[in-house]
Symmetry: C2
Subunit: 343 residues, 2 copies
Amino acid sequence: MINKKRPGITDIAKELNISPTSVSFILNGKAEEKRITKELAKKVLKYAKDHGYVTNYLAKSLRTGKSNVIGLIVENIANPFFAQIAGLIEENANQKGYKIFYCSSGNDEDKTRELIKVFRERQVDGYIITPVAGIEDVIETMVNDNCKLILFDRYFPSIKTNYVALDNFNGSQQAVDHLIEQGFKNIAFITIDSEQTQMDARLKGYKDALARHKRKNYIKKVSYNDPADKITKELRTFLKDNKEIDAVFFGTNYLGIDGLTAIKSLGLRIPEDIGVVCFDDLELFRLYTPAITVVDQPIEKMSEKLINILLENLDSGSENLPLQQLLIKPHLNIRNSSLGLLK
Amino acid sequence: MINKKRPGITDIAKELNISPTSVSFILNGKAEEKRITKELAKKVLKYAKDHGYVTNYLAKSLRTGKSNVIGLIVENIANPFFAQIAGLIEENANQKGYKIFYCSSGNDEDKTRELIKVFRERQVDGYIITPVAGIEDVIETMVNDNCKLILFDRYFPSIKTNYVALDNFNGSQQAVDHLIEQGFKNIAFITIDSEQTQMDARLKGYKDALARHKRKNYIKKVSYNDPADKITKELRTFLKDNKEIDAVFFGTNYLGIDGLTAIKSLGLRIPEDIGVVCFDDLELFRLYTPAITVVDQPIEKMSEKLINILLENLDSGSENLPLQQLLIKPHLNIRNSSLGLLK
DNA sequence: CTGAAAGCGCTTACAG
DNA sequence: CTGAAAGCGCTTACAG
């Protein structure tokens, strides 16, 4: 087959000796509304199909000012937590006629700035963003420019935006209270070296719970960007240097993986030698021996809220809707890894 | 701050009393090449920055016919295998000035058709596609329309496209040979009900290896779209009904997860009661007790080949490069789950 | 019921 | 060294 160029609306119009107006109306399903004769409509539709017409959305969006695309930035799409959220959001958005373009920030400030710039350049209609520390100015600018925007997983208390996040403080409290109830005495918290609100709230929840029970803090921070084996090694050392620790609470699911590797390599038994609770669920935690207790995020609920709030704002046009700032309560999913000495 | 509209190139030109031509040249870094005075360039750059100018890529792409976007369709971005590939491809593409828009086909024909249509409508420059069965016609059309395209993970033998895939036949052979070497007698293969080349090659590799060793086939097919607990149940039943099976080879990583759940719930010990090998690695398999032997795909190499071949084709313009059809050799990563009776 | 024409925001060949 | 103008492929207010 010779490589002929696909026709555009004007090509079809010329070929069929009618106006582009009619072609456009017909192709957009407005034939009836515009009272175009059935035969004409049929002829155009057939021609378009036979010649492989595909809408040029670049041109369409440029003209209409609407791209029907939502930009979604998560921390890391390879993390099952974010992957699931993204999947649910996409499903929901597709039903409403929106496409989702997603990408990962890698918790990197420059990359996030770049991604937001790309989205703005491509004229996406709305944004769902897991923000990284340091980009307050960008978000602020977007708000001032009246971008349709909702933050997710974390937020900037100083900026007036919509957001949906977990009540992380409460999650940590539930985890620590449970460990103490089970008789664990010296509970460590493993987190990353980061100022993000969600990690900060988890840390505060831990500290506050320990303070209530008058227990000593054991806090270990590792660097987000370090490779897994380096983090594992650091956690090994941390546990060896603090033999009195009898339970560990991991601040994120990937820290949990590195931590389990460390615990395994030290030959410690869970929960006999050391109790374990982790933030965010994973297949791995469910199937691990023993199964790992987790602070679970209600993923369906969160993604539903996220997309619905954004869509409402998209529908509202230039009118400004009241802000929606939601903190969702987590659920402690108790498994064997945290059943303690009292048992 | 009042919500003033962001300026376009013509706005800047008008405001500064110069021509859009000059503004365009300056903003695109061609000031020097076009010998525009330094002062003018500086003035324009400053104005653009102060007023938050952002390129409208819709307009730019429409005019230049180039979007600098690559569309990537994988089976499921939540599967760590695809997530890792996507991440590596993205990194590589970004360095060359391309953005990646990715999405999941969910192994669904209609969804894949829709996604390809969206990509074509948005005028992406190139495509990396994990095809699902049944879309031969779409791929064929794309080839005829001279789309820059590379298939991944699976391919259509009848269509002349570039592709990078694993030598799945060889992977199955390695797995089965290893199990037999370890003394396992009755080896089952768990796969999905699908005509895709990769699953077909895995099945053929399994059958061929068993035939060589004159062993009986135990093949169980489950449905890709069934929920995990249904698949788990089916596998449970399959194993209960075929007590002579002493080793299982899972055709994909998610089947491995469901299978381990089934095995655990039956109280079978690995590898004493049943040996296990799985296609594709996971954190879970590394950390599971016992660690699970896997047929590993060389992810870095595959993603590098994929993006490089596509970029070469993108650079070649309308010239047609020779096809590249690569089958990459997998690596058997032996862990404890398959150390057999001879031990 | 149908069409001519302007315009979305860019780029670029051409002219001076 | 700088600018006027056409055109990428669409949509839509307006006219008939």
